[in-house]
């Protein structure tokens, strides 16, 4: 039996228009054999949660560089839960101050990645998290 296909949503919630990082990560996950659903810029938390539901993804990757993560992320987590998607893994990347990380992981984020994180690490983390849940 081959490894089950990992499906991951890469979303850019909020108003910043810098999607270079999201695209680099999306490309790395694609090259690692995953199916990456890319939503594009300026997504509301509702749009992210709805896309995650319709696409039945194993994981959601959020990229936020605007500083609005403490507003956006808990809202997205809550909506995912409302949609019955408590099991989905959530990864966050962008400009996130260290002191915010504990609160974010407490609300259910698997990992937070700052500038300079290697794509290899992100790929390995996503794969480990998704495959652990699959069997």
């Amino acid at each position: 039996m081959p490894e089950p296909k990992i499906r991951i949503l890469i979303a850019k919630p909020g108003l910043d228009g810098h999607d270079r990082g999201a695209k680099v990560v999306a490309r790395a996950l694609r090259d690692a054999g995953m199916e990456v659903i890319y939503t594009g810029l300026r997504q509301t938390p509702e749009m992210v949660a709805e896309a995650a539901l319709q696409e039945d993804v194993d994981a959601v990757g959020l990229s936020i560089l605007s500083g609005a993560h403490m507003g956006l992320v808990p809202k997205i987590m809550e909506l995912l839960k409302q949609n019955g998607m408590d099991g989905v893994h959530v990864f966050l990347g962008g400009i996130i101050p260290d002191e915010d990380v504990p609160a974010l992981t407490a609300c259910g984020v698997d990992a937070v990645y700052g500038p300079g994180t290697s794509t290899e690490k992100i790929v390995a983390d996503v794969r480990a998290a998704c495959l652990a849940g699959a069997n």
Partner: protein
């Protein structure tokens, strides 16, 4: 376990989970398809195909908007969109980016968008796309818009799946020789010239019209009713948007034509015939592979690699060996 009942009652979470099982061809997905099958056959399947970058996703997005807000007294229809993008032949990975153009439907429970990777299929859709549309059909979506991968000249599988096939072109995509080549233009029930605000749109429209005119009357046998559908060329803009209502009206006209003439039923049967044939081939092959441990597989391959036996001869030998053992 996915609840088929919940899917029939419109539970979107259960629907999404079932689509995954079906896409992965899991036994639970097959079992659910068996249960759902009596509920299928109602939806209008509309295929949207065309070269990469012609604006298929933006057009599909606008089209879905009209389905939700049709002009006049027409009731809105529930729409599902299945958007297929290519899988990498090397890693199996895929970047599914069609949702980027489909942001207008967030919060509308009457629209369900699902991205699919082609997973090695080369006909423009994935092997499981047919099954996925059956689930969405049973779940009560009245129109199912299937957007293919960016298609070249021979990705014409969509015409087998869809009741109505729309080929999306954009200005500057080739001359009149391209337009008379066999392939994708032949499968169009409706031809759309998207990005009609760009230079060259008139020329593209004219070339396509001429090509259609040259081929008039040669598309398959005449129907018993004598009624013939003549593909129309329509200029649209998906960003502004212009001409989308007209495209929607044409799609409804085509549906009416299919139903009046019995073509709807004929295409439905043709699709089921080919689906059955595909399944049977896959299943026969799978069963045959199950017995292949009995036969000298490696010796056959070695002879093939060493150019001692051609692929045809190898097939003969393998089939003979397996029938000796059965």
């Amino acid at each position: 376990m996915v609840s088929v009942k919940a899917v029939l009652e419109g539970d979107r979470r259960e629907l999404a989970r079932l689509l995954t099982l079906v896409e992965n061809d899991e036994p639970k997905g097959r079992a659910a398809l068996n249960e759902l099958y009596p509920h299928t056959g109602k939806a209008h399947l509309v295929g949207i195909t065309g070269a990469p970058g012609t604006g298929k996703s933006s057009f599909t997005n606008q089209l879905a908007r009209v389905y939700r807000n049709p002009a006049g007294e027409t009731a809105p229809q529930r729409v599902a969109i299945v958007a297929v993008d290519p899988s990498s032949p090397f890693t199996g990975g895929a970047l599914l980016g069609d949702r980027v153009r489909m942001k207008d439907h967030s919060g509308d429970p009457g629209v369900f968008i699902r991205s699919m990777a082609s997973r090695g299929a080369v006909g423009g859709i994935a092997r499981a796309t047919t099954a996925v549309t059956q689930v969405l059909d049973a779940a009560g979506y009245e129109a199912i818009l299937v957007e293919t991968v960016g298609a070249g000249q021979s990705e014409v599988e969509i015409a087998r799946l869809a009741h109505t096939t729309i080929v999306v072109e954009a200005p500057g995509m080739g001359d009149d020789i391209q337009a008379i080549k066999a392939g994708i233009l032949e499968i169009a029930d409706i031809l759309v010239v998207n990005k009609a605000d760009l230079p060259g749109a008139e020329k593209t429209e004219q070339v396509l019209r001429t090509s259609l005119h040259m081929g008039a009357g040669t598309r398959g046998p005449a129907l018993p009713s004598g009624e013939v559908w003549t593909p129309t060329v329509l200029k649209v803009q998906s960003l502004n948007p212009v001409g989308i209502n007209e495209a929607y009206d044409l799609i409804q006209d085509h549906r009416g034509y299919l139903q009046r003439t019995g073509e709807w039923q004929r295409r439905d049967r043709e699709r089921l015939d080919s689906e059955l044939e595909d399944l049977l081939k896959a299943e026969l092959f799978r069963r045959w592979v199950d017995v292949k441990s009995e036969i000298n597989w490696q010796a056959a391959l070695d002879a093939l690699y060493a150019r001692e036996r051609s692929p045809y001869q190898t097939v003969e030998i393998l089939l003979k060996q397996s029938s000796d053992h059965s």
